[in-house]
Each structure stands twice: as C-alpha cells, then as structure tokens.
C-alpha cells in the first residue's frame, strides 16, 4: 500500500518579474521512481529547490507527508527524511570516504545502522581515501551513497549521471531501480539515454509549466515533447 509522500498544489515561483514555475500540481507516492526532464531553463532546478524547501513558492504549497515544508531550514527538511544529491559533487574533501558516510548518517533524525552502502555504490575498497582524491565519477557515487546513508523517505537527485561514462550511467539506472524498494526517488536529468534506461514515470517541464507526464515510452513518442526539445516550441 503506497501513500502520497509529497504533494505540490498550485505552486508558482517568481523571481522579480520572471516566472520560474507556474501553477504546478504534482505528487509522488512512496517507493516510486520519477524522472524530471526538460530543456535548459525549463525550471528543473527551481522545481527541485521548491521540493527541498530551499525555495518557498510565491503561490501554492508543498507538503511532505501532509506537513507544509515551504521555507523550512535545510537541516530540518533533511531530518524529515528528504535527502538531496547536488548537481556538482559536493562531498567533504577534507574527510575520508568512510567519514563522509559517517557525517551523512549522523545527520539523520534517527541514526541508521551502518549498512553496506559503500558496497552498494562500489566504494568499499576506497574507505580510507580522502574524498578530495576521488575521481569525478567516484565522487558522484559517494554523493549518492551519502544521500542513501540516512535512509531517507525521499531521495532527490540532481543530474546523477553528469560526467559519467555510459557504462556507469547504466549501472546508476540499475542502482536506482534497486533503491526504490526502500525510498521514493525523483531524479532530474539531462541525459536522455539515462532516462531511457530508467524507463519510468516521467515529467516534462517546459517554460515553468508541467508540460507532459507519463511513462517514458509515451513521452518519447510524443511529437510535442520532441518539438520542445528541438526548440520548435
């Protein structure tokens, strides 16, 4: 039985005269995997910032398990069970891989047991390496690992495969499918091959509006979506 985990109602965000998001209704149930796509400037980052509460919507509300989270302090949002992986890998360079994971676990409201997350993301051999010395791809994995470490209820991923090889991209898609048994996941992505590999509920943003929503196969076949991507609309 899956409950509604997160619900956006009539959300608009304006920066001065610029409308970044307009009138968005969206919800996601627990243990599901959704993907958000859209051309540059479509409002994907704003969408994610609203979801994480970093940005309070100008109009409308965002509720996480029935509780309004608009404008809550970052660490409080995190303690509710929303984890976020940033676009630019932002691991803690001065700490080792294992210490990075520790800091992630310690932040959770109820501290989870040490799990084999490092194993899952393929970094168990690099435990004692300083995060600063990891390769770009490894940093991305560590990021994802840190996001899972606190066993969140909702995991938000901002371009999780940026800078990865196509092999790593496929592996990441498989990893997310495994993870959705434990947590709901929303991924914002640019790379269509990754979205295709995910093959899941997909949301298309265009000019700040919710343009289409449906399974990827439908979205991919949609002429209007293609037009958006090719800049014909």
């Amino acid at each position: 039985m899956s409950e509604v985990l997160l619900e956006m109602k009539g959300v608009s965000v304006k920066f001065g005269g610029l409308t970044a998001l307009s009138d968005i209704d969206y919800s996601i149930t627990s243990r599901s995997l959704a993907c958000i796509i859209g051309p540059n400037g479509a409002g994907k980052s704003t969408f994610l910032n609203v979801l994480t509460g970093t940005l309070r919507p100008s109009i409308g509300s965002v509720a996480f398990r029935g509780r309004d989270i608009g404008g809550l302090a970052l660490h409080r949002i995190s303690r509710l069970g929303i984890a976020r992986k940033f676009q630019i890998p932002s691991v803690f360079p001065s700490l080792s891989v294992a210490e990075n994971m520790d800091v992630a676990r310690w932040g959770a409201a109820r501290e989870p047991d040490e799990t084999d997350v490092l194993e899952m993301v393929g970094l168990s051999a690099r435990r004692d390496v300083k995060a600063a010395d990891l390769s770009h791809g490894e940093k991305q994995w560590l990021e994802i690992g840190m996001a899972i470490a606190a066993s969140p209820k909702l995991l938000l991923l901002d371009e999780p495969t940026a800078g990865m090889t196509s092999q790593e991209t496929q592996a990441t898609a498989a990893l997310l499918h495994r993870l959705k048994r434990h947590t709901a996941i929303i991924a914002v992505e640019h790379d269509i091959s990754f979205v295709r590999a995910l093959d899941t509920d997909t949301l298309v943003l265009h000019q700040g509006r919710l343009f289409r929503r449906g399974p990827f196969s439908e979205i991919e076949a949609d002429e209007a979506v293609r037009d958006v991507y090719l800049g014909r609309r």
């Binding site: 995190s78 940033f86 800091v103 932040g107 840190m146």
Partner: protein, 320 residues
C-alpha cells in the same frame, strides 16, 4: 600517522615542561609560565579558527573579560571561595557573551570577513568601555592587587606552584580539546567548514554547532584570562584590546592553525622574540609584528611547524 605524530609532540612537550623547572631559575620559570598562559589563550582561538575556518579578530575580548570578571569577583570581600567563584565567572561571562554574539552573527548567516570585522570592532569597543568605565575597571592603569589563587585556605603563589598549575591546566585543556576535535563533533565541524550548505542538507544544524564551538573557545579564553590576572596580580586594558587580539592570531598562525599544540609553541617563541626586540627598541616590535603578518601569509601559510614537516617529507623522499 599525522595524528600519532601530534600525540608524540604533545608527550614531548609535557616532558620538556616537567623537566624545565630543574634547570631554570625563578625568573625564567615565571617568564615561561606567563608565555604558557598566553599559549592557552592561543589554543582557545585555534580551537575555533582551526576547526571552523572562521577567524575571530577580537578574541582578546574574551580573554580580557575573563580577567576583569575574575578581578572584580576576587576583590569583592566576604565571598566564600573567591578564586573558585571567580574562575567560574571568568568562564561563564565570556561564554555568555560569545553565545549572544554567536546567536546574532552565526545564526544570522554572518561568516567569513563579516564575522572577522564584527569581532574586530568588538575588541575595539571592549577596550574603550574598559578605559572609560574607570570607577569599576581602574581605567587606563587597570587594577593592581588582584588576590592570588586560593583553594580551601591554601594560597597558590610563588613561581613553582603557579607554574605547575598553569602547565597542568594547559595539558589537560589540550587533551580535552584534542579529544573533542577527533570525536564525531570535530568531524562534523570539518564537514561544515568544507561545505556548510551540504552539511545542513544532511541534517546538521551548522549555526548551532558553530556557535557552541565559539562559546567553548570563548570559555577557554576567559579561563586563561582569569588565571592570568590572578597569577600576575594586575589587570589592565591591554588584556582586552585589539593589539592582543591580533598578537594571538600571529601566535596561532606561526604555530600552525588547526594543530592546537602549535599555537602554544608559537606563543612561547613569539613572546620570547618580542622581549628580545623590545629590550633593544620598544617601538621596533609593532613594526616587526606587522612584517611577520605579511611574511607568514606569503612564506608559511600553514605555520612555521609546517615548514619543518614539509622539509622532513622532502628529506624522506630524497632518501627513499
């Protein structure tokens, strides 16, 4: 490896401190004792600056406040155990001030240069207040005759006794702060220093942790100030002013920021140099201090001890 190295250094330092009285006369013992007290003060600054990366440019405010509070409490007649009460106040008052400053600045998102400037102003103001409020503080000349430490009717005075108190206190504080830095607390602080937004996104309350670190740092500074005035017997505005605030930065920078032990070494060495230079020409010291600031920044940004470490690594690489 690095951690073990520091523990060895601390053990070596303890040995030096315990042997020193056997070779030194009373005068040199008191000189080292005073230097160590300022070393304790330097440790307090390093605990905050080293672990958070935020520079307090007015740390003497806390040292001096501890000193003045200690003076006022111990000079009030009729109190039971005045030294103990005084030291509690010398710790409590700066801690409370730091909590207020931290609440307004650190919770307000003030970081980096802004924090540095506000704390600098804090030190300027504190000194002015102390000078102008002469009925209580003794104004420009300060107050003479601060009673020595007393515990249960036994007075701790004399070079040897005070030296031992200072040395033991210093070692205990160093060990405690080191343990704190290596605990979960310290790791999270490093994470906050690396990337505060990320740490907050993981559920850590960064402003609260930074403020508490600042409070602990101020409490240690105040404790050092309280001990200092009781042992020196005087309190004066230069204990709270901008010049001391900046000198302590030099001690920490020379000894190596974030090493805790380094600042003690820095404090002892720099004060030794200061005495030598001032005895030749008193107005030369600020000039040399100023040059030192500039030189550190360009030559040894990680402290003088790091030069030793670097050259050792270089040697090892060559021999390998």
């Amino acid at each position: 490896m690095k951690h073990r190295g520091r523990l060895v250094a601390l053990a070596a330092g303890t040995c030096v401190l315990s042997i020193y009285p056997a070779f030194a006369d009373e005068y040199h013992l008191t000189v080292l004792r005073d230097a160590l007290l300022f070393g304790l003060f330097a440790v307090s600054l390093d605990f905050f600056w080293g672990s958070t990366g935020i520079l307090s440019f007015g740390h003497a405010t806390f040292f001096g406040l501890g000193g003045y509070v200690m003076t006022l409490v111990t000079m009030t007649s009729g109190l039971p155990a005045p030294s103990v009460l005084g030291l509690f106040a010398a710790v409590g008052a700066p801690a409370a001030l730091a909590a207020i400053v931290g609440y307004f600045l650190l919770f307000g998102g003030v970081r980096g240069s802004f924090f540095t400037i506000v704390t600098l102003a804090l030190s300027v103001i504190a000194q002015q207040l102390v000078i102008s409020w002469s009925s209580v503080t003794g104004g420009d000349t300060g107050l003479l005759g601060v009673p020595p430490l007393a515990l249960g009717g036994y007075e701790i005075s004399g070079a040897m006794a005070t030296y031992i108190v200072v040395a033991v206190t210093l070692i205990v504080v160093l060990l405690a702060l080191r343990a704190l830095e290596q605990s979960r607390w310290g790791k999270i602080l490093i994470a906050i220093g690396d990337n505060e937004v990320r740490a907050a996104a993981l559920g850590h309350n960064a402003p609260a942790r930074l403020t508490l670190t600042f409070v602990i740092s101020a409490a240690v500074a105040g404790f050092a100030g309280g001990l200092y005035v009781a042992i020196a017997g005087v309190v004066a505005p230069d204990l709270i002013g901008l010049l001391l605030s900046t000198e302590v930065i030099v001690w920490v920078a020379i000894g190596g920021r974030g090493t805790l032990l380094g600042p003690v070494v820095g404090a002892v060495l720099v004060q030794r140099a200061q005495q030598e230079i001032s005895s030749m020409n008193p107005s030369l010291w600020p000039l040399i201090l100023g040059c030192t600031f500039v030189i550190i920044v360009f030559v040894a940004p990680d402290g003088v001890m790091s030069i030793a470490e670097r050259s050792r690594m270089l040697l090892r690489r060559r021999s390998a």
